[in-house]
Structure formats: structure tokens, C-alpha cells
Symmetry: C2
Amino acid sequence: MSNTKVLPLIEPESDAVAPCCPPLTERPFTAEEAETAARMFKALGDPVRLRLFSAVASHEDGEACVCDISDVGVSQPTVSHHLKKLREAGLLTSERRGTWVYYRVEPSVLAAMGKLLTMAPPST
Amino acid sequence: MSNTKVLPLIEPESDAVAPCCPPLTERPFTAEEAETAARMFKALGDPVRLRLFSAVASHEDGEACVCDISDVGVSQPTVSHHLKKLREAGLLTSERRGTWVYYRVEPSVLAAMGKLLTMAPPST
DNA sequence: GCAAGCCATCGACGAATGTCGAAACAAAGG
DNA sequence: CCTTTGTTTCGACATTCGTCGATGGCTTGC
């Protein structure tokens, strides 16, 4: 058990994070842009996921143990399922430290989604 | 049944528009807040709807005829279905003028959703 | 090693969703 | 009127989604 490796923890899912699209108001989205952006919106389009995400985002140091945020009215497997969805959408990352697993928000994603929703400045 | 109440004319859909929630990062969302906010994110969580919304939002004067934005790769009834969903979520409004129906973005909603995604300012 | 606690995965189920073609509705023009 | 054109509604279908209980994998502590 010489499992001394420390950080092969970068998720393959993190490519969903990247800057994807201009503001929604700038020009009509292409099919590809829409596909990418919709994946992120969809991830936040469920009440339970939104509560979980908000719980992590507002928690101390921007990270939270699963055990701290599991009280959202659904079973434990369901919580785990939703956290996985949020991970796959690139909104959260997870890391195991000893007994517990900690989730953390990917800050660049919030910024990217925020920009999508900005109004275009009055063009001339 | 002297129902003299004055304003039953408000669309049932328009309540989804209102200021609903603090930034996601401020504190954990309540179940109610999550329900409201998730409805809006869900509406944008489909690629076709996102393209339609973007097409309207980026169109001249912020409004567009259905016939101008129907080229998103699905049948016309499906376009109509998605536009209805966006209306019900409070993101778009529609108005018939003669032969054509025009859709228009509800600007306050973009602002509200944008605020949800803002990072909390460093506390103290 | 073994029991206990935390978290993820599996398999199954009903409900919701996206899609279409056909049909209905509405306005405009002959 | 009747036809044409633009848009919505209806009915049906396959797929996806949210949920659960049961099970499995890790890590810690005895």
C-alpha cells in the first residue's frame, strides 16, 4: 500500500469549465456553444443540486464536506448522485481527505456563467 | 360571490420573474429559493431553448418574430413548444402583431440571474 | 483482523422531457 | 367564402431524469 501519490486528482471533467461563449445577447448562439452552455445551466436546473451547490459555495473557505451539506431532504445516494452531476458539469471538484470527501466550487465557472447573462452594451 | 378583486390579470407566469434569491455564494439556499431559481436555470438548460433565447436576445430591438428564429434544427412545433417553456419560466414575453408573433426578452430576469452568480465580496 | 462510519455505485421504478406528424386556430388576401 | 401562410395545440413515442434501497469500497479505530 505504498499509495503515496498525492495529486492525480485533476478530474477529466474539468474541460467543461473553459470559457465557452459570448454573452447570450451578443449574437445567436451556435449549436456547439448552446450545447456547452446548456450543460452548465442544466446542472443548476434542479432544486436539490442548486441547494447543494449553494451550500458548498457559501461554506467556509468555499469548500464543504459531504456530511455538512447532506441535509436537503433526499436520501444519501441521491445526494451523491447530484454531487456527481455537478462535478461532471465542471461546477464542483472533489477531494478525499481521510474519512471525508470535500467539495469545492470552481470559481471560473461562476464568472463564465455570469458573463453569459450580461446585457450587451448599447451598440453605437 | 362578489369577487370585486381588481387584478386577476397578472399572468401566472410573471411571478417567476421577481427578485428571488441572494447570490448563490451568500448563504445556503432554502428549499423555496432553490425551487424558484432552478426553474429559471432549467429553462436555459436545453440547447435548443438556449439558441432560441440567444436569438431573441441578440435580435434587433431585443425582439424577434418566430419566423426569424425558427432555424435551429428541429420542427416548427418543437420550436413553439420551447418558446412556450421560456415564456412559462418568465424569460420571454410574446405578442401577436397581425400575422406574426413576436418574442421579447424580459430584461430584469437576466439581471436577476446574473446576480445569483456573483461571487460574494471578501467578508471583512 | 474486524466493526463502524462515510461515501459511491448499482439496479429498478415512475415521472418528466424532447421530439415529431397531424390537426386546429388565427390573420390576410384573393 | 376559400386558400394560404404563420403559429399553437394535441397525441403519441422513446429517452432522460430524480429517486430509492441494497450493496460495495475506503478509511479509521478498536
